[in-house]
Amino acid sequence: MTFPYEDYLRNEKLPLLWCPGCGDGIVLKAIIRAIHKLGWKKDDIAMVSGIGCSGRTPGYVDFNTLHTTHGRPVSFATGIKMVRPDKHVIVVSGDGDATAIGGNHFIHACRRNIDINLIVINNSIYGMTGGQFSPTTPIGINTSTTPMGNIDPAFDIGQLAIAAGATFVGRQTVAKGLMLSKMMEEGFAHNGMTVIDVIANCHTQYGRRNKLGDPIKLIKFLQDKAVPLRKAEKMKPGELEGKFVTGVLHKVEREEYTDAYERLIKEAKGQGGK
């Protein structure tokens, strides 16, 4: 049986504007599969994005979609979720969008533990603006603004999210589309801030500038650095140098922000609570 992607897509908007072989398309498919599995109604979903290649994702899906400003989609999503806590809110962001210009919004949404599902398509570069380095570009990598190799240390988005207070944090590569989708399903169902760090290929910018210009070659290069959590737990810290851990990195229960606010409303109206 073929999967009914077309039920969720704005089919008239195809073909996608992303470069052939771009990881963004894999993420799009994974999101749709997760939503289908969860049985969410299209009317009940808001998908919000910032600016960048990743920011174009909402344009293709038949939900309530909002393409905002660079780095700030989480702030818009917070407003939506605050007034409609009964609805599902998904944010699709890039590594620059989420952790450079939007870093402040990112950590504070995690701290609040508001039920927003944040997918960071982490290609370790600024795709849309011509391949400048981002907060997740590894040391030594060539980009248009690091012509002699990057000297800026990188963020680990997963660790950042955990430290800031997100209650569901996962990481997967675009090489593992189905596993990514399963992880999204679990993360979307989780009541609280979900952050999924999707390690993705930008062969056009990152690849071309580092002799990895072919999408398959670059995806393989990235996948070779992935260490599943179970395996990583048995490894010594030094052995993980230059690699990254995949899987559900963190999952805990803590009161969700709009649930907490609902308590205040009940209290203020004098129903229940003290």
Binding site: D43, L66, G79, K87, N104, H105, H108, I265, K269
Partner: protein, 379 residues
């Protein structure tokens, strides 16, 4: 609930009036001299089923109120100087996406951190031109406590009616002045809500101008009405376009939805202008000093009148022109180094002599200083 008369500050009146206008969401970041708006909203919103959030900065606050408004809830944020600067990118987003919202700026001295606890009127040009790109703006500037109430309600009404952000300008004096406020009868307040679509979902477009220059707005999550919103220039469907004709037409329409409705949007007060030789043009708290100066001048037999714009943008051009035809001199006192006087000059041209009083020394402009200028030009 009998709370018809209360002792409140201007900032507190803003919050009370916002709730009366149907506002149920506040997002903001603390900054003097605007913080009392947030304090009242935090206290009162949960009791009426509304929601308050203190965000991580002003950019986020502005994003949050746009998101909440798109989800169908009237929303407001309040700030001052530095915070108003930070909000500008998202004010532009609300302009181009035509999402109603209200932004309160309690003006303080600047630039930068400037004078946090001193009054100023130096953001009146920023209110018009602060965000990049061509865009329509409505900015209101009340002078009296009761008027702060009515103009706050009007801010929501205009933003809903014209699908545009509305900027409500207070200053440290109007925001912090305390007084007895007689509330209008809430039942009798005119409350305007955004026009909702009358067509079924499959015929709905968020920027469909076949219903006029202000397209009906479905809320996010309204059954079946799923649509796309972007800060890129877009066509009637809400999706990005690079079609030059469509872009030109849409940008002109956004200006036109304001410029074709000036009589509805513009409000000003005229006092003693019928026989006046000299007109004071003053707004916000400075208009209070101007009024006192006018009374003293009149007592001395000098024929002075007051023209007080309540709507600052779009500026009451027609009204001011009539004044300029009658008087020989116009005096513009304002707490900045010459901002609104530029707009007055553009309108008045050679019709009258123009004099400014521009004070930015942290103190309000006194009636005495205005009176002195009146006497100077009388000689």
């Amino acid at each position: 609930m009998s709370r018809k008369v209360r002792l409140l500050s201007g900032n507190e009146v803003v919050a009370e009036a916002a709730i009366a206008a149907g506002c149920r969401f506040y997002a903001g970041y603390p900054i003097t001299p605007s913080s009392e708006v947030a304090a009242v909203m935090a206290k009162e919103l949960p009791g009426v089923g509304g929601r308050f959030i203190q965000m991580e900065d002003e950019i986020a606050s502005m994003g949050a109120i746009i998101g909440a408004s798109l989800a169908g809830v009237k929303s407001i944020t309040a700030t001052s100087g530095p915070g108003f600067s930070l909000k500008q990118e998202h004010i532009g987003f609300a302009c181009i996406t035509e999402i109603p919202c209200v932004i309160v700026n309690v003006m303080r001295g600047g630039p930068s951190t400037g004078l946090p606890t001193a009054p100023s009127q130096s953001d009146v040009m920023q209110a018009m031109w602060g965000t990049h790109g061509d865009h329509p703006v409505i900015a209101l500037c009340p002078s009296y406590l009761r008027e702060i109430f009515t103009e706050t309600v009007r801010s929501f009404n205009l933003s809903e009616k014209y699908r545009t952000p509305v900027i409500l300008l207070l200053d440290e004096i109007t925001g912090h002045m305390n007084g007895r406020v007689e509330f209008p009868d809430i039942e009798e307040l005119e409350i305007i809500d955004r026009k909702k679509p009358t067509v079924p979902p499959d015929q709905y477009y968020p920027y469909d101008t076949s219903f006029g220059d202000v397209p009906p707005l479905a809320n996010f999550f309204d059954e079946g009405y799923r649509y796309h919103v972007t800060g890129l220039n877009h066509d009637k469907t809400g999706f990005p376009t690079i079609n030059p004709e469509l872009i030109q037409a849409d940008e002109e329409r956004m200006l036109r939805k304001i410029s074709d409705n000036l009589d509805d949007i513009i409000k000003y007060e005229e006092m003693n202008l019928d026989d006046a030789d000299i007109a004071l043009v003053a707004y916000g708290s400075t208009a209070r000093s101007a009024r006192a100066a006018m009374d003293e001048a009149r007592a001395k037999g000098i024929k002075v009148g007051l023209f007080r714009p309540i709507t600052l943008w779009p500026f009451p051009e027609k009204g001011l022109l009539k004044v300029a035809e009658k008087v020989h001199t116009i005096i513009v006192p304002e707490m900045n180094l010459g901002q609104m006087i530029l707009e007055v000059e553009r309108i008045v041209k050679e019709r009258a002599i123009l004099k400014g009083i521009h004070q930015v020394d942290s103190r309000p402009i006194s009636p005495e200083r205005i009176l002195k200028k009146i006497e100077e030009v009388t000689k």
